[in-house]
């Protein structure tokens, strides 16, 4: 069981709601995956509130817990205000905190991130920071009040998969008691399995599912991959070695010559 800010969750797969071919396909993907947490955002409304209302109704029907984000925010003040507006709309103190620092890579501005996290934690928010795999930043985020960390494994939407396994492993070792969720950069189920085998607690996905030929089937594939990786971590895996080790016992082997 995964516990995030006191909430117990059966699924270790968090799913974004953007870029699906249709609302029905999004709903199908959420159901197929058994996802219990979905990410949503806030945007300027142009249709008198009706467009957002229709989307909100769809999200309510899914029955999943909402994790609003501050996507697209490039400053601390923007991110803090967006978080407050998200709490007003969604009635949750959870916030996926993004403070973007670079247009091309969508890399977090880690300095702004720590500052915004401190402000929001002080105002009662339960912050899920989208961060890099940098340990020092992670420590600052924990000091700022974050009880969950969400390091990227590659740039958002890149589908490159884990680019720095050593850094992810090191973060796991440094924060044995902090739930760690890989957010951003996962492209295929095997990437998700890899990070779960490292002992990560969950994976947050969007484009890898929404952009698949069959998003619902891909969502189901990811759910299995994440479960497999988690089970493998819990079961304890062999460490690789240089030389062969016979798996069949040598004792009692017949001698024919």
């Amino acid at each position: 069981m995964l516990t995030l800010y006191g909430q117990e969750l059966g699924s270790r797969m968090l799913l974004g709601t953007a870029r699906y071919p249709s609302p029905a396909i999004l709903a199908d993907a959420v159901r197929q995956a058994g996802t219990e947490v979905v990410t949503v955002s806030l945007r300027r409304e142009t249709a008198g509130g009706r467009q957002g209302g229709a989307f909100f109704e769809l999200i309510r029907e899914l029955g999943a817990r909402v994790l609003p984000n501050t996507a697209g925010c490039y400053s601390v003040s923007e991110a803090v205000l967006t978080a407050k507006m998200a709490r007003e709309v969604f009635g949750t103190s959870w916030i996926k905190l993004e403070v973007i620092g670079h247009h091309d890579t969508l890399q977090p501005d880690v300095f702004g991130l720590v500052e915004a996290a401190r402000i929001l934690a002080g105002e009662g928010f339960e912050v899920f920071p989208y961060t890099t795999d940098d340990l020092v930043v992670a420590e600052r985020l924990v000091e700022a009040g974050c009880k969950v960390l969400m390091p990227w494994c590659a740039p958002i939407g890149s589908a490159m998969g884990p680019q720095n396994i050593a850094a992810l492993r090191s973060m796991r070792a440094h924060f044995p008691d902090v739930p760690l969720i890989v957010d951003a950069g996962i492209g295929r189920p095997s990437h998700a399995t890899t990070v779960m085998e490292l002992g990560y607690d969950a994976v947050l996905l969007n484009t890898a599912v929404a952009g698949a030929g069959n998003p619902a089937l891909m969502a189901a594939a990811f759910a299995k991959a994440i479960e497999a990786g988690r089970a493998a971590f819990e079961a304890g895996m062999l460490e690789p070695r240089d030389m062969a080790v016979p798996s069949t016992p040598v004792i009692g082997k017949a001698v024919f010559s």
């Binding site: 699906y20 409304e45 509130g49 007003e88």
Partner: protein, 65 residues
Amino acid sequence: MRLIVNGEEQDVFAATLSELLAQLDFEGDWLATAVNGELVHRTDRANHRLNDRDRIEILSPMKGG
């Protein structure tokens, strides 16, 4: 009164934020509002008086990742 609503300048006669939402035909309990960079709770909209050149943001739920 000239206001900047979601980045666009508009001439409106609304005295309060809730009057503005009604005049612009906004509806729904899922809207979030901010004036000049500060959140205005839905319960405070009726009492929030607007001033010329105020910057209003009206946001609603949208897909996101």
